[in-house]
């Protein structure tokens, strides 16, 4: 199907969302709670765009690009004055929530905001509650974290903060996906620490680099149905081995 984004005619498939199509066509729309690895959620409200259609009798409205399904003939404006005004308002609010976040500071500057016009949160952290960590943990981790509480008191956490109840496998997916760097971890030769828990490390049989925690590898094995023996080498060494095998067969 054909639709128009900022006056440019683009092609899309049924079931796609505006944001996907825009990104593919090099049209940039800011989005903080979006990641191709997880389902869209529409929480940060930064990817607001204006849509209309020739058949809608002049009606137009703001929608989130990450969740709005494309349709034939849709006309999308990603950066008109109204869109920019609303987006600036959302960024201003996020800046009041996380005044120390470099990511939010940089984005805000693009919308002419140097300092939030609102009252900054006392004792701010870097969490913008985008929910990416919770979604990725559910998808590839062990559903070890959740949002706790509601409204302005909502946080992301592990349950009860007692170690025996942790389901965390130390896979670091949450820390990797976190856009603002709020979720941190440490790792030295022996241990990896995240969410207040220490994990042992498993090393590659061949090259000796750390490939994960025992809990993480067990989880992958259970999920994939592959034997634990598969998880004894790092990806590079495993690929090297496969390539060597392949070379033997062919030549």
């Amino acid at each position: 199907m054909q639709l128009s984004i900022d006056g440019k005619s683009v092609t899309a498939q049924t079931g796609e969302y505006i944001l996907q199509v825009a990104q593919r066509n090099g049209i940039e729309i800011p989005a903080l709670c979006h990641h191709p690895a997880v389902e869209p959620s529409g929480a940060c409200r930064l990817c607001m765009v204006e849509i209309t259609h020739a058949d809608w009798g002049g009606w137009k409205g703001l929608v989130t690009a990450c969740l709005y399904p494309v349709q034939e003939g849709l006309i999308v404006s990603t950066a008109n004055e109204k869109v920019r005004k609303v987006r600036a308002g959302v960024l201003d609010l996020l800046l009041a929530r996380c005044p120390e976040s470099e990511l939010i500071q940089n984005l805000s500057r693009q919308y002419g905001i140097e300092k939030t016009s609102f009252i900054p949160r006392p004792e701010p952290d870097l969490c913008i509650l985008c929910g990416l960590c919770v979604r990725i943990c559910e998808k590839i981790g062990a559903s070890a974290i959740s949002t706790i509480g509601r409204g302005i008191d909502k946080i992301v956490s592990v349950p009860y903060e007692t170690e025996e109840n942790y389901a965390c496998i130390g896979c670091l997916a949450c820390a990797t996906i976190c856009p603002t760097g709020e979720i941190t971890f440490t790792q030295d030769e022996q241990t990896r620490s995240i969410w207040g828990r220490n994990f042992e490390l498993v090393y590659c049989e061949d090259c000796g680099i750390a490939i994960g925690t025992p809990e993480q590898l067990k989880h992958y094995s259970e999920r994939s149905g592959l034997d634990m023996s598969y998880f004894t080498k790092c990806d590079r060494c495993r690929n090297r081995e496969a390539a060597a095998r392949f070379a033997r067969i062919t030549f």
């Binding site: 930064l46 607001m48 989130t64 009041a96 609102f118 509480g149 302005i152």
Partner: protein, 619 residues
Amino acid sequence: MKNSKLTSPEKLARLKGKLLKQRQKQRPIITVCAGTACVACGCVPLTAAFREALKENGLEDKIEIRTTGCHGFCERGPLVVLQPEGIFYQQVKPADAKSIIEQTIQNGELVEKLLYRDPQTKQVLTHEKDIPFYSKQMRLIFGMNGHMDPTSIHDYIALGGYAALARSFLEMQPEDIIEEVKKSGLRGRGGGGFLTGKKWATCRKAPGEPKYIICNADEGDPGAFMDRSLLEGNPHAVVEGMIIGAYAIGSHDGYVYVRHEYPLAVKNLNIAIEAAREFGLLGENIFSSGFDFDIKVSRGGGAFVCGESTALMASLEGKIGEPRAKYIHTVTSGLWGKPSTLNNVETWANVPMIIEKGADEYAKVGTEGSKGTKVFALTGKVNNTGLVEVPMGMTLREIVFDIGGGIIENRPFKAVQTGGPSGGCLPESALDMPVDFDTLTEIGSMMGSGGLIVMDNLTCMVDLAKYFIHFLQEESCGKCTPCREGLRQLHHMLEKVTRGEGGVEILDDIERLCMVMENASLCALGSSAPNPVMSTLKYFRNEYLAHLEEQRCPAGVCKDLITYSVIEENCTGCVVCKRACPVDAIEGEKKEVHKINSDICTRCGICLAVCKFDAIFVE
């Protein structure tokens, strides 16, 4: 056990005939209202006293006592109506039971002191139907409440209950039912005002099985309680509506999502569902038609946002009640991603009436765009608080002044708040507007679920706006930025205004923030959150300006801008206020005029509340 299953509409009709005969024999009846409000006023000991008194007089077998659902006039509870005459006694105490039986029942004399006296005309009125609170109403949905025991399916059937269901199964195809509901013009009573028939049609056509029927009884709007009273007083009407809807849409699974704060509603609903199952009206093979449908009751966990359809469905699935975007509607992809029809309690209760009377007859009541009646919860600073059911299109003035009996102590009317936290405050100039979905939206408010909260000159509109924003801030699920962060900031700003700070410029900041919240929020909780602020700014801007420019709260509410003092002429020196003051800010000996030390005074208002001589002055 005797098999009570009604395997065909004919059997239902025969049962009704039998029950009606029995009812005729049993007259007269003492009906005691047993809605939550009347229970709170002591109707349970009252009923016991009636039983006792009947026994004493040897009348247990001649007179029936029927505890009914809410009659609506909660202000005057406990209410007792003697049938068939319709003699109306109000604020009846257990001690009055004896005199009612001995004087009225046995001797046909009225108990004067229990009759209703019209506060305006001072006229004493004997019958329920003559009381202005009732006479101006059109109680099509609520009328049955007063005539039946909500826990008795026999009562409901005797009054014509489940006849609409029989008609649907006997004479109509699912498509006919949808057509009839469409033609009736019924719009969702929960707030959105979406056309019910259209919703059903889309859901029926939507691909995917199973399909779900859901009743939204998560009546979260503070100041609205018609759904509670309907579930408590006439649960079968809701159940019947849902079965008809299920048959029309092709659904076999129904859910009722009820607020956990409504224990009596949950109890009566469960009794009704159980009885309907026993009578074969729910379950497998209803009326031997081969059609199956059953209903599960789910108690909400206590979250206002779960009134929103997608959050409600998430909650039914056992998840956190966060809404999701509705670019794909719930009629296509709702509960567990399946086509789902969600209507609120009052909407479902309208359905049997439409089927029974026919759409044309139903649509005779109401306005062009809003058909039928609407139940309003009339509360606040009005004389007759309670539930009122009126045809769509009645003016606010008629509701507030004719039915509601005007403002308490004849103080001046200031505003009426409609539509709950998502609605707006309307000034005197809007009183002559007809109340329907479209008019209310046009003038900056909304129908919502039908709360009407009346305010007088002692209500501060800035404080009220702050109240709603505080409410919403506590109830925001916290998923999306504009709602979560916006409400926090909006509350800060309104707090500043109530302290007289921020200058007039703050109003521009407020308006700008409201624009962002309205446009960028994920669900209706956030996008309509600015309504109470924007509507008070529109109609009561002067009050905001008084706070900001003169550091004055005209209603005498905002603590930082008021002072308490003693009116010397009125003070008798009784020391009640002095003893009551929690911070010892009141000085003065017994029988001497007291004085309030405003440096210590925290403006808590206790002295004003306890003074019996109107000697405390607020400015």
